[in-house]
Amino acid sequence: MTQQILIAVLVLGAIGAFFAVVLYFVAQKFKVVEDPLIDEVAEVLPGANCGGCGKAGCRAFAEACVAQGNLEGLRCAPGGDVVMQKVASLLGCAAEAGEPQVAVVRCHPANCGENRRSNYDGLKSCAFANTVYTGENGCPFGCLGCGDCVAACQFDAIHMDAETGTPVVDEEKCTACGACAKACPRRVIELRNKGNKGRRVFVRCINKEKGAVAMKTCKNACIGCGKCAKVCPFEAITVADNVAYIDYTKCKACRKCVTECPVHAITDVNFPAPAKKPEAPKPAEEAPAANN
């Protein structure tokens, strides 16, 4: 009995030892030398693999950081300054402080409801709908409402408003990775600086049609009249191709343009509700905007 146990132990032990030796040599032979720093950097990254940095994933970003040795042109938007500081300290270089950004939907929600001219019945994909027609309200530039951005978001930060059929960004959750902006076939979504206390002003329309044509499709379409550009004290607004654009690096959120815009195409968000200004947008209209 004891002898049998002994044989079993010895045989198994010998097999184990043999394979251990084989494995050791194989491991030596095929060893991949990798900078341990990559692991350390990857450790501090959010690990969402969102691709917002333009790399294939967080590890690829870490590899790029280590290979480059500094953080020039590299930024993890979801991680923000906190993560970039950590990466910088690991690499021993300085991190550029970036302005926190947020995704912004540049199409007016009032665009969809009653202005619908057709009913889309095909594949729920903006990329596909874009090849079939102009959109349910007939605007060839606006939101198609099939939710490619929602599907692209890994942070559950963008949702379809069932009533308006346009997406709404959850500012708390949005990490400005830019996946939604990339997914949008019409580039309706843009990353903009979050602004002081989240207060920001932007043109909620990218319709490049001539004023009269644009007005026909949507009552909130930018008609490119240029009034906003004239009133802007900081030269932040440019009008090109019949549509105004506010440069968020120059805009000081004075909101002169908001009141000036004849079609209410310019939106301000996260400002305290206007107290005694009759010409300012009504609270009801601002409600959907505040979520953005």
Partner: protein
């Protein structure tokens, strides 16, 4: 291989071709064909006659556009097409109906064509002829055979396998002789011994008529085809008529074939023998719930609303969809104020109930899409590959071979929008290939 049998619904079969009156304003789009838009050669205030050149083909892949009416050019600016996209266009206020003197408007039929092949192709270009089967491929490019290639067969597609459409059928019934002359001209242009006219065997009257007429012409053979959708698809038609198969990624000319639509042959006759540019479409107005069914000859540029107004007054209240083309490959129209363009073959009005798709359910892997696919592809697989953005794999499984005939969606018991998904996938594959270059 593959194919489906949708309900034929050729309810406008017996409606003789009528002439649609000319509306008071005309919008002529500048890109009515595959390729670059034509360049407008008229300005606001110019007087134009019927058949006068108003858009010139300057790019290689382009076709001339002629005025379908006489009158004054009101403006030259973009107009929204049937899908709502702005396209360059010429607006003409119609005054009278004055035709260019060069156009032979007599009803006489001219059989002899003395032009040389090269001259025929040049004239096709001059007259702005494009393929009227749906793709609107400029005819002068198709009939200018590239060096090193040789055409052996001319195949005329008169299968009309799409449900509802009857315009080709009516042309065969009423203009058999003109069609045969057109085919002879195209045969001469290519220098091929025989031209085959493929007609689905569910049109016995048209087959009889064409067979009788073709006996008077040399080298025209009428080929009855099995009834199956998509029998009229280019590759399937070539296979049915010649037994040859166009390999993946190749063109019909690579197997020595040139395919044209029957409507094109008729337009060729008018262009070559009568000097009449492509300014008219033969168009079916049909729908199960419409009070009457029609076939019209319509000036290109007449809007959908004008056509509807003249033919049936107004759309029924229960209208759910208006389609330009057949139910399998036609395009749904959203903007009824848009002008018709070259190649439009129908205004098909579908009822709300018919038009809506049923909700999608889970794939039960029945393989019906696969058995229905005339190209031997696996649509169910593309569906999941495209959804998961596995574009490279979709390409490896030959997604680009898809001819978008719609058999997969038609046969899917789970109502999955397979054809849509595959189109999306094809776009993504093309984008990926372009990015690689």
């Amino acid at each position: 291989m593959g194919g489906v049998h949708p309900e034929e619904n050729k309810i406008s079969n017996d409606a003789a071709i009528e002439v649609m009156p000319v509306p008071s304003q005309m919008v002529v789009l500048m890109n009515q064909h595959l390729g670059a838009p034509a360049t407008p050669v008229v300005q606001k205030g110019d007087k134009v006659k019927v058949g006068q050149l108003i858009g010139e083909a300057q790019a290689f892949m382009c076709a001339n556009v002629h005025s379908p009416v006489s009158g004054t050019v009101a403006k030259v600016e973009p107009c929204k097409d049937a899908f709502g996209l702005a396209k360059p266009a010429v607006y003409i206020n119609v005054e009278g109906d004055e035709w260019m003197e060069t156009i032979d408007r007599t009803p006489d039929i001219k059989r002899e064509c003395t032009l040389e092949p090269k001259q025929i192709v040049d004239k096709l270009k001059e007259m702005g002829i494009v393929g009227l089967g749906g793709a609107t491929f400029p005819a002068h490019i198709k009939y200018a055979i590239p060096d090193g290639k040789k055409a052996e067969y001319l195949i005329i597609n008169a299968a009309e396998c799409e449900p509802y459409l009857t315009s080709d059928y009516r042309v065969m019934m009423e203009h058999a002789e003109e069609v045969c002359i057109g085919v002879s001209i195209l045969r001469k242009a290519l220098g091929v011994p025989n031209a085959y006219i493929g007609i689905e065997s569910n049109k016995p009257l048209a087959i009889a008529k064409m067979q009788e007429m073709s006996r008077q012409f040399e080298g025209i053979i009428v080929e009855p085809l099995k009834v199956k959708y998509p029998q009229g698809a280019e590759k399937q038609l070539i296979n049915a008529v010649t037994g040859r198969k166009v390999p993946s990624g190749k063109l019909p000319i690579d197997v020595g074939c040139v395919v044209s639509n029957l409507g094109t042959a008729f337009a060729v006759y008018e262009a070559i023998q009568k000097n009449k540019p492509l300014i008219e479409n033969i168009l079916t107005v049909t729908g199960k719930k419409l009070p009457s069914q029609h076939n019209y000859v319509v000036r290109i540029g007449t809007t959908y609303n004008d056509i509807i107004k003249h033919s049936i007054g107004e759309l029924p209240a229960t209208t759910g969809k208006v389609i330009s083309g057949g139910t399998m490959m036609g395009k749904a129209v959203v903007n009824l104020d848009a002008p018709t363009v070259k190649g439009n073959s129908s205004v098909l009005v579908m009822d709300e109930g018919e038009a809506r798709r049923n909700p999608e359910t889970a794939c039960i892997r029945c393989g019906k899409c696969m058995h229905a696919c005339p190209m031997g592809l696996e649509p169910y697989m593309f569906s999941s590959l495209v959804k998961n953005n596995r574009i490279e794999e979709a390409k490896e499984h030959n997604i680009l071979d898809c001819i978008e005939c719609g058999c997969c969606f038609f046969s899917c018991p789970a109502n999955k929008p397979l054809t849509d998904e595959i189109r999306l996938g094809k776009n993504k594959v093309r984008a990926m290939m372009a990015a690689k270059k």
